[in-house]
């Protein structure tokens, strides 16, 4: 095997990347180029400058290939890059928490992938993330093994280092796999809103870049005229229905694109691996001992059809950050039982998933209503004032009264979502209505407590207990819990930490 010889020397990305950079840069400049072509020869110079700019970008992209090298040596992974400013990024292997392998459509045609290495550093800048764009899939697999499988065999292979690890074909256990019927959950994710938004945004960009006035396009004008001709009630019912249908369809397409072939497996070395994607694919490997818990999330619409999704709480995987966005997803929107089953498997016990949450009591309920009023009342008052000043018709504030019952329903549902529990060394906190979340955080992942009390919380004896952690969202809150209960939970979760600062009412009198 040449692995040993290779692993110590500097390695380069795949040469096919020389091909990707020009295409990508041209693609990025495409709206501008199209605009230049369509707008004709306005000044004559614009097109030239556009081409020169694109040419420079292509050159930089090509240079990037020549200047980027990486190696895994001496318990470290190093990346050298930069054209004018040379950088060497060094990360110790025991800091590597996750490896994310993704491939865009262009990458896949050429058999290339992009590797992002997640470390435990919480305050790093997005720029310095360890990212290698354009490796062959085989190289990426080998790199992943080098980065993540080192921990386990290191001790075992210590007696005989000349023997390579025997597990050439890793044994893996399947935890969850996408079933075709899950696509029915697609419309309830509302991801289509985003898709439709992106399409509209792109259309708008094309229009503004090409200086085409849509009002002068025949079909648009004709369609608009027809819309004005139909009875108004039909338009009022039809247009929203059409919109719902379009968004629903787009959501389903989006669902298939992102989650096609979803598979969650546990590898032999104790790592979790999520792979998914139809055109652009993504494989995230999470070191399971870095997993600090899981978050069950049920957006309102998904909750109505008993669906849920599961997100990992792991060090090195921040929720919703840049390219790592979506990297922590363990189970895509699907049947709730499936997400719960996987959560129980990953947490090692069903109790944290099934345990009933202790409600936060009438004071927390009252606070939900007062906070609702604090938002709705000024809004209605403002509309009434505007009506009295003859700036708005009366129906504006009359309609806004509807917000009161809707808001009250949401407030009550938010209260029902509130809760907490501590079972089997897992802190569980529930919250939210529009997106109901159940955080299940292992106590050994908690690295501190923040107890926050606003003026109004102090008056009612409530507090928000925040567990800080190096994983996931970095902080998980038990909202509006009676202070005493918060302290009891915190004391039980991390025994000893709070003890010197606690006192009972009895000892206070001494």
């Amino acid at each position: 095997m040449t692995t040993m010889a290779q692993s110590d020397s500097w390695r380069r990305l795949d040469p096919k990347m020389l091909f990707v950079h020009p295409i990508r840069e041209v693609g990025r400049a495409l709206p501008v180029l199209a605009g230049i072509l369509l707008a004709g020869s306005g000044t004559g110079r614009g097109g030239l400058w556009g081409l020169v700019g694109t040419g420079i970008m292509v050159c930089i992209g090509v240079l990037r290939w020549f200047t980027t090298t990486y190696r895994v040596a001496a318990e470290q992974v190093q990346v050298r890059r930069g054209i004018l400013r040379r950088q060497v990024l060094t990360v110790s292997l025991d800091r590597v928490r996750t490896v994310d392998v993704s491939a865009s459509a262009l990458h896949r045609v050429l058999g290339l992938v992009r590797v992002t290495v997640g470390t435990g550093l919480s305050d790093r800048k997005s720029d310095s993330a360890l990212r290698l764009d354009g490796m062959s899939a085989a190289d990426a697999d080998r790199l992943r093994d080098e980065l993540l499988r080192r921990h386990a065999p290191a001790a075992a292979a210590a007696d005989d280092p000349s023997v390579p690890a025997p597990e050439a074909q890793p044994h893996e256990t399947e935890l969850a796999v996408l079933r075709p019927s899950w696509v029915a959950y697609g419309p309830f994710t509302l991801s289509g809103v985003l898709t439709v938004g992106v399409i509209l945004g792109f259309a708008w960009r094309v229009i503004s870049e090409t200086h085409v006035d849509p009002r002068q396009l025949g079909p648009v004008t004709a369609g608009y005229a027809e819309l004005l001709a139909v009875p108004r009630w039909l338009a009022f019912v039809g247009v929203p229905l059409l919109l719902v249908a379009v968004v629903g369809f787009a959501s389903m397409v989006g669902y298939v694109l992102s989650f096609y072939g979803f598979r969650l497996v546990r590898l032999a070395g104790g790592n979790l691996q999520v792979s998914r994607g139809l055109i652009s694919t993504r494989t995230t490997t999470i070191e399971e001992r870095r997993l600090r818990g899981a978050e069950l999330s049920e957006p309102l619409l998904l909750r109505m059809v008993r669906g849920a999704r599961l997100i990992a709480i792991a060090t090195g995987l921040r929720v919703g950050r840049g390219s790592e966005r979506g990297g922590s997803l363990l189970v895509p929107p699907g049947p709730g039982e499936e997400a719960r089953r996987v959560a129980a498997d990953v947490l090692g016990s069903t109790e944290p998933v099934t345990a009933a949450l202790a409600p936060h009591g009438p004071r927390a309920l009252r606070r939900r209503y007062t906070r609702l009023l604090a938002v709705v009342a000024p809004l209605i008052a403002a509309l009434v004032v505007l009506w009295r000043l003859d700036l708005l018709p009366a129906w504006a504030w009359e309609t806004s009264l509807l917000l009161v019952p809707i808001g009250a329903a949401v407030a009550y549902d938010r209260y029902r979502g509130l809760g907490h529990a501590l079972v089997r060394g897992v802190l569980i906190a529930g919250r939210g209505s529009l997106v109901r979340r159940r955080y299940m955080l292992r106590c050994d992942g908690i690295i501190g407590w923040n107890v926050t009390e606003s003026f109004f919380q102090r008056r009612t004896g409530l507090a928000t207990l925040v567990a800080t952690t190096a994983a996931g969202r970095q902080q998980y809150a038990v909202q509006d819990v009676p202070l005493e209960e918060a302290l009891r939970v915190a004391d039980q979760a991390l025994p000893g930490l709070l003890t010197p600062f606690l006192e009972t009412a009895g000892s206070e009198a001494l």
Binding site: R95, I447, T452, E484, F501
Partner: protein, 174 residues
């Protein structure tokens, strides 16, 4: 107290405040810092009053200006003193414990074993009053503990103590 506490009786748990107050000079530091902000707001309003003196709304402008001045004065008197009573800190061999805020208050506790860095910093206004602030960070982006308005020597002593305590614990603090 006459009644005796048994195990069955509800025991009222309390989190006692941290032991140490910050330096009393911090009151003036907070006043100065807030004063800077208010002066900008008042200056903008005065400037506008002079510029737009002929739009017939002068009395409104003056009223708003006076109201702002009253609120500013109340804030400058109440906030620093309130803060001074709240802001407290304590470091034991096992944990750092801070309390901060005024209208809204936070108490933060971090075990020494999870601390990653201890920084001390002196801003320009703090220098005038001979104060320092100390920031204790953990591996969580949500977890920094900040102690504002410490006497310079107290801050240095705290940093030294914490540095020694951190050296004696090991692990990667995540």
């Amino acid at each position: 107290m006459t009644e005796t506490l048994t195990d069955a009786a509800p025991r009222h748990l309390r989190l006692r405040p941290p032991q140490h107050l910050v330096s009393p000079r911090a009151i003036w530091y907070w006043t100065a810092r807030a004063l800077g902000g208010w002066l900008i707001v008042l200056a903008v309003q005065t400037f506008y009053l002079i510029l737009a003196s002929d739009d017939g709304l002068t009395s409104w402008h003056v009223a708003v200006l006076v109201a702002t001045a009253v609120v500013a004065a109340a804030h400058l008197v109440v906030m620093p003193r309130w803060r001074f009573r709240v802001h407290r800190w304590e470091a034991t061999p096992h944990a750092v414990y801070t309390q901060a805020g005024w209208f809204s208050q936070q108490r933060r506790i971090a075990p020494i074993s999870r601390i990653q860095t201890v920084d001390t910093e002196r801003g320009p206004i703090e220098q005038v009053f001979g104060l320092s602030n100390v920031t204790v960070t953990t591996a969580s982006a949500a977890g920094p503990l900040k102690i504002h308005g410490l006497d310079r020597d107290d801050a240095q002593r705290l940093v030294d103590d914490l540095s020694i305590a951190i050296e004696t614990t090991r692990g990667d603090a995540t």
